[in-house]
Symmetry: C2
Subunit: 248 residues, 2 copies
DNA sequence: TCGGATAGGCGCCCA
DNA sequence: TGGGCGCTTATCCGA
């Protein structure tokens, strides 16, 4: 069984070599920077990545309870009782006081691969550009990501009566902020082009009741569109994935 | 050196006991649910927490490249070549194919502590409630977190001329969406109370130029207010923290 | 670098 | 459970 003092030496060495480091330990965390926080002693998982990202995870939840972004610097010291990790970057600092270590690992990681992800809002906009009738018959999209001073319009075009039409896509459930966003664009277009007749369409799988009310109050409309999932067909062939049933 | 097959047995056992599990491994990840994704083979850190949260970390960056939320279920199998972790919840599933394991740890974590965090938007609103002159002379706040159908107003009160005044706080830099938020509240109040004179104030450390223009177009105003950091005084006494200089 | 917007956002509160 | 929204949001993308 290694002592805390020994760990601090190994840790310092692993840091120098830019290994990925994973520690299970009991520690307390202090943070000051964009906000201020203190986390009393408890069991945590610490991760320091090769890019100097530092994560502190509690036993539950998806998000780290504390963290430092990549590019931070870390130094280790041993004060006779605790192993202390001090981290800082240009705007923030953190101090982790480690009382005991349950496990310790470090590893040079090799990973050049990037994730391939589909079904994003951008994919929705692409799909609408290729298949405008998803919005309505006669809709003619002209451009994507149209830039205005008041924001970026997802899809910009005209309807069958040649009215300027703005489409804002939401990949999940459209809410109040989606409506205000659409409204902001519509007003900007009216203003800059000097036209009074601008249609606004919110395209999403669904919409909250309040958002729908606000949408109608403003004379805009909702169209049900689901984001595409290109890989679904691929996965349909992978029977193992769909026949799988897990236990708890 | 344990074989993959042996690991799969240990892993299954650790899962049953709701230990926190940390694995350094080479794996590929497939996900389908709110979107679809595929991540080819590479070295990753896997974490499964006691609440069944699953995180997949690459060697860099703050965020997991893939994850499953707490409450998911996980089952392990060994297909003769790879250890396969299949995870699912009501809407999503993930499959991790583990080719090799670099390290493996599990641990029953004990952590009843919660983080104490200050300097949030809520703290800003508290500060303004206690010291209304931060907004302007004569401002009288009446309530915090006023609920309306169209959203929650941060601070609600009257100015020295008794005009209804709405304050929206932003802890960092106020942007266009902050302005539309304020505007939405102002309109809702005008509408519901049948008054035409509602003032809107955006309180933040700073504001983007476009947001400021839109704010003025709508007759609202900006007040520079910084979020409080109560622990700063405390930390001032901790010389070690401030005199610290890291390497790298 | 700043600004604007999305995210498989997450997590929290409250109806 | 769903709506609304802040977040030490992070991350991406364009000017």
């Amino acid at each position: 069984m290694l002592k805390l003092e020994d760990y601090s030496v190994i840790l310092r060495n692993a840091l120098d070599k830019s290994h990925a480091i994973v520690i299970g330990c009991n520690c307390a965390v202090k943070y000051s920077g964009r906000a201020e926080s203190f986390l009393p002693e408890g069991d945590r998982i610490l991760i320091i990545k090769e890019d100097k990202t530092l994560l502190v995870h509690q036993p539950t939840g998806s998000n780290p309870v504390n963290y430092m972004k990549s590019g931070s610097s870390h130094i280790i010291s041993f004060d006779g009782e605790k192993c202390v990790l001090k981290s800082k970057n240009s705007k923030e600092f953190m101090e982790i006081a480690i009382k005991s270590i349950h496990f310790f690992n470090y590893l040079k990681m090799s990973d050049g691969k990037s994730i391939v992800l589909t079904g994003t809002e951008r994919d929705m906009a692409d799909m609408i550009m290729k298949n405008p009738s998803l919005i309505e018959e006669g809709f003619k999209p002209y451009s994507q990501e149209e830039h205005t001073k008041y924001g970026f319009i997802d899809v910009f075009g005209t309807d069958k009566f040649n009215n300027v039409t703005i489409v804002e896509c939401k990949r999940y459930c459209a809410d109040l902020s989606g409506v205000t966003q659409l409204r902001r664009y519509a007003e900007k277009i009216k203003d800059s082009k000097g036209i009074s007749n601008v249609r606004g369409i919110l395209a999403a799988p669904r919409i909250t009741p309040n958002a729908e009310k606000m949408l109608k109050d403003w004379g805009f409309s909702f169209v049900e569109v689901k984001p595409p999932k290109y890989l679904e067909k691929f996965d349909k062939n992978q029977q193992s994935l769909h026949s799988f049933t897990g236990s708890e």
